[in-house]
């Protein structure tokens, strides 16, 4: 039998010598230009980092290409960031410009550092998953094309984090991003009664429903759904393949805003619903791109320096957010889940 439980290779084996030598002894860093960072250590050593956007879903050829670049300019060292950008780590300043030129030639975008938009954290979508309500890679490409200038320039009031999840599982970071794009369903699951008892554990299916809309149906050896209680989360389909929920016409996208994870200035925040539904419109999702574009533009025009989307909304209030972005406020925006009461307004303070 082959060896198991080896764990990942020790990261220290793959550090560039300059990082190994100055590990834990960095004094400061600065942004040289969009996408280029310089770290200076106590010994005076200088490390240059060039950050490059990647589509996350990449081919082996892409990996080999960036390996070639790393071999030529960085002694073979690179890393991936937590937003799946590629960072080339250079110990020689004279290599910075040649690498930037080489990246430009290949069309790899340099940026994503500082008060800029970084890459979108996203998920599988129609590429690989069985529960999505929308695609991931397609929308990410469309939105990043539209906001590309903000990736390559540090021209925003603060960092802008956009994330996408293709269903309510929210794999990734949509629940805590400045702008979140989320796939949602709008129809009740269709139960395949013949198949259900054979492929599903009925108690598990019943327990998977957050609104207790599913009940056993002993006569059919199946379950029934109280359609009044179902809000189409699709959790039962995750547990049971005989409860198909996908619907090409009614599935679509919700946009959430105002989340953050850092503790800088204000504590972390969850993102909250801004637009309840936009249609799936592949391959370019123009409605989604326009909506995100509009929110970003209003935020740029309105926010103070250093103010994240959520902090901006907290300052001006949600009435003004909806007013300035032109997004209609509907009954869908009012939280009606178990823990909704603290989200209601318990004060007379509001803006007309």
């Amino acid at each position: 039998m082959s060896r198991t439980d080896l764990g990942p290779p020790d990261y220290r084996e793959m550090l560039p010598p300059i990082i190994k030598e100055n590990y834990g002894q960095w004094q400061y860093h600065e942004y040289v230009q969009p996408g280029v960072m310089k770290h200076v250590s106590e010994s005076g050593a200088e490390l240059f980092t060039i950050r490059v956007g990647s589509p996350r879903l990449v081919s082996l050829d892409f990996i080999r290409e960036i390996c070639d670049l790393a071999d030529t300019y960085c002694d073979g060292y690179l890393r991936f960031t937590s937003r799946h950008n590629v960072e080339f780590l250079l110990s020689k300043e004279e290599n910075v410009q040649p690498l930037l030129d080489a990246l430009k030639l290949k069309g790899y975008p340099v940026g994503g550092i500082g008060n800029a938009m970084s890459s979108m954290v996203h998920t599988q979508g129609w590429i690989h998953c069985h529960t999505p309500a929308t695609d991931a890679s397609g929308i990410v490409k469309a939105v990043m094309d539209d906001l590309f200038e903000h990736f390559t320039h540090m021209d925003l009031p603060a960092r802008l984090r956009v994330a996408l999840a293709c269903c309510l599982n929210m794999c990734g970071a949509v629940h805590c991003s400045d702008i979140a794009i989320l796939g949602i369903h709008r129809t009740v699951p269709r139960i395949n009664h013949d198949r259900l008892s054979k492929v599903c554990e009925i108690p598990t299916v019943i327990a998977s429903c957050p609104t207790a809309a599913i009940k056993p149906d002993p006569q059919k050896k199946s379950v029934k759904i109280n359609e009044e209680k179902c809000m189409y989360c699709g959790n039962c389909f995750t547990m049971c393949p005989a409860m198909e929920i996908m619907d090409p016409v009614n599935d679509g996208i919700a946009i959430l805003v105002g989340g953050k994870v850092s503790n800088a200035r204000t504590g972390p925040m969850f993102s909250r619903l801004a637009i309840p539904f936009l249609p799936n419109n592949p391959p370019r999702w123009p409605e989604v791109v326009d909506a995100v574009h509009k929110i970003v533009e209003v935020w740029i025009a309105d926010a103070q320096t250093g103010e994240r989307v959520g902090e901006w909304i907290n300052r001006i209030g949600w009435e003004r957010f909806f007013d300035r972005t032109g997004i209609p406020f509907t009954d869908k925006h009012i939280d009606d889940y178990i823990f909704s009461v603290p989200t209601f307004r318990s004060t007379t303070n509001f803006k007309w």
Binding site: K198, P203, T238, P241
Partner: protein, 104 residues
Amino acid sequence: MGYIDFNGQQYEVDEDGFLADPTLWTRELAVFLAKNEEVELTDEHWKIIDYLVNYYKQFGIAPMVRKMVKDTGFSVEKIYELFPSGPGKGACKIAGIPKPTGCV
């Protein structure tokens, strides 16, 4: 979906080899399914399989791994020794219990 031939009969299985209809499961079929998993069934294997079959019959779900360890007295390591592909893909498949679902 595919089929496996056993005793001159065809049984529908899904792409991972789980029985499409668990009601067709028999002890003889378990021996055949175990061969596909490269497992030679011993008394210890049968103790786990019988436990799973009875638990599923009684509660309609497969037991949690901790429950299984407690009730059978086998450690997780031992279960993996008996069923190299694990309690879900190995033991449940041979016991004719529906394929584990969720984010597996």
